[in-house]
Each structure stands twice: as C-alpha cells, then as structure tokens.
Assembly symmetry: C2
Homo-oligomer: 302 residues x 2
C-alpha cells in the first residue's frame, strides 16, 4: 500500500485541474489556494478528519473537547498559510454509544472556538457508523498571492518554530496538567500566522505530525535540506517528544536570515532552530547527524 506522500503524489499527477477553475495550488500543502474570479483575496481550503480512538477517546475527552479539537485542527492549517478563517462545514458520523448530550457538547465545543475566531458554521452532513468520525472543512482568506507555502523556503533561510514543542505528546502520555490541556484544547496560531505573513516570512506549515516529519516535508517541498539544533521543549517534555511528537499545532516557518522577527509574539517564543541548505531534498540534520522523520504518517501501518 502507498504511504501517504506517495498516494498524494499519485493523486497530484492524476487530478486534472481545468485551467478555468482558478486553482492556484492543489493537492499537497496545508491548504489548497483558489482565486475566485474578480475576488480581492485568495481563498484557502483545508479538510481534516478526526477519529474516535485515534485523535480522541470518549473516556478521556469530553464531547466539548472533541468538538473544539475538530475545528482547531482545520484552523491550524489556515494559520499555517497566514490566512483568516471565514467559514467551516462539518460532517459528523455518530457512533452507537452517542447520546443527545454528547452531540450537544460536541457542537458546544466546536461553536465556542468558531465564535471566538469568527468562523461561521455554514453546513455539514450527519450519519451513523461504528465509532465517531468527523471531517471538517475550513475556508479562509489571504491577500492575493501572499499565502505562506511549504514550497517557498530558499537556501540560507533561517528556520523557526513558535512555542515550545512536545507538550501534546507529553500530555497524551501523562494525561495531567498543562500538557494534557494542551493536547485536548490546541490553540490554532491564527494571529501569529497573519503576523508572520506581513513580517516577510517566506514558507510555513503547522506542526501537526511532529517536527522531524513536518520539517522533512517542508524541506522536500522546497527542494532543500534542513540543519537544526534541538527545539525549545514544553516543560517536562523529552527531546523525543519535541522532535517527533504530533499535534502541537505550533508553526514551523522560514525567513530570509536578516528578517527582523521579535523573540516573542503575544507571549509565544519564536525561536530560530536552524538553516535551510542546498542538498538532498527533504533531508534533516540535527546537530550534524541525520534525523529520521519519525512523526505520524497516517497510512504508515498499511
């Protein structure tokens, strides 16, 4: 069976894009980019599935946690491209154990984040299945031609991450404290994404599957390799958590080396961790040694 990148590459080759469709960027980045005829802005679209047992558990996550997280994952993709969210559509397949209280709670969690980020819920679909599965589509806007893309890094760019990494993986292990809250209620970095776009950042993506895998993807998309040192860690997180742990939903980005970036943005540290270099596309080195992309590949087990 294909791994996810191979399947994505196959689809990218087979999916014809009619020239009239206004598609600026199709399959392969955090969001697709579409330029509606006559519109002042480019539109971003992303879709994310969330599964009971994989992304949340009924025993540890409240219904409101699950609803929050479903939307946060999609909003994080909009943030990664420097966009502002506009609306979402939610498809929800209910498991046999779900009752009305759970459904109420799920939508309460989702709508609390939707309302806080001015994201309108404009549609969706409902069905039954064996365990809860939801799929969210989020649409956002960005000034024409200014979306941050993972294929835009250049050799010599400085590599940065926001925040401290590994908190979500630590929380998943310990189910306690700040790290657990972080795992259950990730904060999409929308304000930061918009700030970075305006500040001259060139390439960005969100850290959903772990730094090692996500940086490998950014480097591969840009045709470059990456040299880094250890990233800042969430209190209590191990080096492994910070390198390979998923679902931090911080931003990974690159900028020309002299771009003036503040050390903090709204209390969140922005830390330079390395440099993009010419070399084997997609290779990542940590303190000079090869770093394997061990993060989460959704189809790896096939």
């Amino acid at each position: 069976m294909w791994s996810e990148p191979e399947l994505v590459e196959q689809l990218r080759r087979k999916a014809l894009v009619p020239p009239s469709a206004g598609i600026v960027l199709g399959i392969g980045d955090d969001c697709a980019i579409v330029r509606p005829r006559g519109a002042a802005e480019d539109w971003l679209y992303t879709t994310d599935m969330m599964l009971e047992g994989t992304h949340f558990l009924r025993t540890t996550h409240t219904a409101a946690d699950a609803g929050w997280k479903a939307l946060a994952r999609g909003l994080s993709d909009i943030a990664a491209m420097g966009g502002e969210p506009r609306f979402c559509l939610l498809s929800l397949a209910l498991g046999p154990w779900v009752d009305q209280r759970w459904v109420d709670g799920f939508y309460r969690g989702l709508l609390s984040l939707a309302n806080a980020t001015a994201t309108a819920l404009i549609g969706g679909d409902l069905a039954h299945t064996d365990r809860v599965l939801c799929d969210i589509v989020v649409a956002g806007v960005v000034p024409r031609g200014e979306a941050l893309r993972r294929d835009r890094a250049r050799a010599g760019d400085a590599i940065y991450v926001s925040g401290r990494l590994g908190g979500s993986a630590l929380g998943l292990e310990t189910a306690r404290g700040q790290a657990w809250t972080r795992h259950k209620r990730p904060s999409p970095r929308l304000a930061l994404g918009g700030f970075l776009r305006a500040a001259g950042v060139r390439a960005a993506m969100d850290l959903s599957d772990g730094l090692s895998l996500d940086l490998h993807r950014l480097a591969a998309a840009s045709g470059l390799c990456a040299e880094i040192t250890a990233p800042p860690r969430f209190p209590g997180a191990t080096l492994d958590h910070s390198l390979h742990g998923g679902e931090d939903y911080e931003l990974l980005f690159t900028a020309p080396p002299r771009t003036p970036l503040p050390a903090h943005f709204e209390g969140l540290p922005l830390t330079r961790i390395g440099t993009m270099r010419r070399g084997l596309a997609g290779a990542v080195r940590l303190d000079g040694a090869p770093l394997e992309p061990l993060g989460y590949d959704h189809l790896k087990s096939l």
Copy 2:
C-alpha cells in the same frame, strides 16, 4: 435524540454568522451560499458523507462505482442550485480490508466523473477506520443572487420533477439491469440545473432521500403545502419506489405556472406533478390524500 431536521434547526440557531463573512445562506439547503468580497459570482458549498454498508457495499459495488458515487452525490447538490462545479476535496477513511487496487479504483471512478464535469480535486485527507467512509466537499459557482433555493417556492407555482423516479430503489432491490446501473452510477443533473436557473425556475432541490420527504422539506422551507399526482415511474418501479425511494438524484423544482418549460431537456422528461398551495407548511397531498414523508432520514433510527 434529535431527528436530522431538529438538529439542523438547533445548529442554525446556535451558529453565529459574523456579518463580515459574506455568508448569503448557511445551514439548511442543498448548498451554503457565500459571496466572496469583489467576486463576480456566488460560491456554493456542499458536503456529503458516504458509508460502506449504508451507501455502497464492497460485495456489489466496484471501487470505481464507489468513487463515482461519492462525487456524484455532491455534484447533485450543486446541480440543484443551478450551479457549475469548480472543485472538490475528498476525505477518505479506509477500512481494514482495503488494498491498493481498491484505492486505485476508487480514485479512478471519482476522477473520471471529476474530469467529465471539470471539477478539480484540490485536496483531502486520509485515515483508517473500521469500514470505509468518505466525505466529499464540492464547491461551485452561480451568477450572483441566482442560486435556486428550496425556500423560494410561492403559492400557485407548478411543481415538476425531472426523469422517472424510483429507479435507484428498484435497482437496490433487484441488483439488475438499467435500474441497478442507475443506483450505482447516478448522473448529477448539472446541465439541467443551469438550464432551469436561466429559464425562470424559482425553487429547486435534488431528490436524494425520496420524493415524499424531499418535497415535504421544500414545502416546509417555503412555508407552503404541496398537492401532487403520482410522478412518472422508472420502468419496473412501483408507486412506492417512486414516492419514497431515495438516491434518484433527479431534480424537484417549482416555477410560476406560465413559465414556458420544454417537455424534455437533453432527453430527460420534465413532468409537472402538482401545485404549491397556501396551507400547513410542509404538508404534501397525493391525489387529495395526505402523503407521509417516508423517505430516508439519516438520524431517524436514533
């Protein structure tokens, strides 16, 4: 547990729509309608889930049938509003029995319809679950302010259906002949939808859950009741198939009584079956007797 209409109504009340978002129509019709700032056209968005065991069976549907149908269901919603498709995003959760050949076939079926309708596949997501589930989002365009909506029928409007109804339900029972092909490979009525919009049709929706339920919904949305006679039947279909059978994906529409409409459009009969009247909103009468909405409510069994 809520029935689907109650849940939709709850969500419609709770989902704040920020005034800046350009949302013309949110939850409750075949598609949501969005007006991008500066754009020449309105954009339509719809999302549809398709589940193994509910909407297709691995034993009777080829992978290509399943891929075709996933997209056809979304395109039918675009057709129902008189729109032209532009792009789609597909989330696909794979069951444990799925192999690479099946995935290849699924995308082959989906892309054959996508290419035939100039619908670009621009993104998606992949996951594993217990049985195959996919969720498709289709976006399309329609001239500004001209989308056909189910809440736009007026008292005195003539009620029409396209094609002959009950074929899909018959095919599901017999698994043979033209009816079976129709069930497996529904044809979204895109050209017809555009024609009806230009011809002065006021209200429309697609027949996905059966005439009795879908006409009830159209009448309820328009605050009217409907009086009809039996619709034209697919060869071999019973009256029940034609009244309550789902997944025909024909169009149901209303027009002012003197609107000149042809008897056929591209070989498809357009048949007047009744009249919209003032009265109990949502009530449907067949030859003078109440017709219960027996079609498929996705959450009725909860």
